[in-house]
Amino acid sequence: MLSEFLVITIGAILVNNFVLSKFLGICPFLGVSKKLDTALGMSGAVIFVMTLASLVSSLINQFLLVPMKLQFLQTLVFIVVIASLVQLVEIMLQKLSAKLYDSLGIFLPLITTNCAVLGCVVLNAKSAPESIQSTWYGATIYGFCSALGFALALILFSSLREKLDLANVPEAFEGTAISLVTAGILAMAFLGFSGLV
């Protein structure tokens, strides 16, 4: 049992990293990685939303969709659930922590359409191992770890980009070009983890 979750954890964070090996959530990966500060804020928001979305979606899937044989509605229902969750988080954040709300800015509503979140939830329900698919805590741990993997990639990448700002980059490579090259190399580095689990 415990070893099983250890496998899930390492698998989600390093081996099947959402950004660097599944290539989900590339938009925030490139968009919010200019500064380490915003990357940290975005990582926090994604961890929060993804864990919560995994939990709620898994509950709905297990107790509503599967018993009623409505699995074909999974994508539709999950999108609705994620959108409402983000909306809820946004409303509550604005009241409870205006500073965090300001620093996240446009990226909090953008999490709604972050394919990493939907991808994680859909994977939970469809192609994950039995222990994740059929238990809500398995799904929650997987969602949390996937988000941690996303955060790891985002923080690594933003640190790299901060250093890159000071580097003498050839003119043709400046800006997005060198960022994409860097992301590619980072993804290749993460390929080294394959076969670990």
Partner: protein, 276 residues
């Protein structure tokens, strides 16, 4: 019951439930906003230059409405703009003198001694390498950190020298903070004649590295006579902004190095190559 009906009902119920929850949460966690903040924000320039010391125009608007700031603290607003905001909020606007930035250096590339520098094209980086590659330790490095900091495009880098275009400058002071040589000062907009030098070195030492340095010959001090237009500051003459001279002083003084200049002519480049 067919599967389609079940699907429609299930999604419908789920949607309605989530909608109700969001509705309730939005009511419970409602954030009260003051409509005056929005209106004041519209009256502000919206350049988000930070010249007022607040984090952007929206933040400034909030402070103005809560009366922790006054509208005249916005350096970009014209008198009419400040008046409009004050009228809207029903407070009395204070008048203040408009100030613009002045780069106290006239040493462009043809007029100064420089050594080779191949590092990052940024003044704050260049200054780390032995204070920059300029012969004069106090002069403008000309990599344009100030021009980059200016949200209004009022600073031009011409022949390795930062030149302020006064008519575009709004006085946000972003450039003052950006200059590692502390060359930029805020001067009254009404003042026209300035000494474009900030080196405290002795005249002969300055002349070795710069053709347009102020050598403190005091011609301008004598020409202003009893008027006290100019101040002597060691080996440097500065404009006395309490009693600023007019452009006629430049003609009367006949500054031998053209360090004393009229700002509009300096911005147009009229003094380039006239060094005696």
């Amino acid at each position: 019951m067919s599967i389609a009906v079940i699907a429609i009902i299930a999604v419908g119920v789920l949607g309605a439930l989530l909608g109700i929850i969001i509705g309730i949460v939005a009511k419970v966690f409602a954030v009260e906003t003051d409509e005056r903040i929005e209106r004041v924000g519209e009256l502000l320039p919206g350049a988000n230059c930070g010249g007022c010391g607040y984090a952007g125009c929206a933040d400034f608007a909030k402070s103005v409405v809560s009366e922790t700031a006054t509208p005249d603290q916005c350096p970009v607003c014209s008198k009419e703009d400040v008046q409009a905001i004050a009228d809207y909020l029903g407070i009395v606007a204070e008048e203040k003198e408009k100030k613009v930035a002045l780069v106290r250096c006239s040493g462009d590339i043809p007029n100064t001694v420089r050594s080779l520098y191949n590092g990052v094209r940024d003044c704050r980086s260049a200054v780390l390498v032995a204070g920059g590659a300029k012969g004069c330790d106090y002069g403008c490095l000309g990599f344009g950190s100030c021009a980059e900091a200016c949200p209004f495009g009022a600073i031009e880098i011409r022949k390795g020298l930062a030149v302020v275009h006064k008519e575009l400058c709004v006085g946000c002071e972003n450039c003052v903070a950006a200059c590692p040589k502390e060359l930029i000062v805020m001067v009254p907009e009404a003042a026209t004649t300035h000494v474009y030098c900030n080196s405290p070195e002795k005249g002969a030492a300055k002349r070795k590295v710069c053709k347009t340095a102020c050598i403190a010959c005091r011609k301008c001090v004598k020409a202003s006579g009893e008027e006290d237009h100019m101040e002597i500051d060691g080996f440097l003459i500065r404009t006395n902004y309490e009693n600023a001279p007019g452009p006629e002083l430049v003609e009367a003084a006949g500054c031998p190095t053209t360090a004393l200049r009229v700002d509009t002519l300096h911005a147009e480049g009229a003094y380039e190559g006239v060094t005696k």
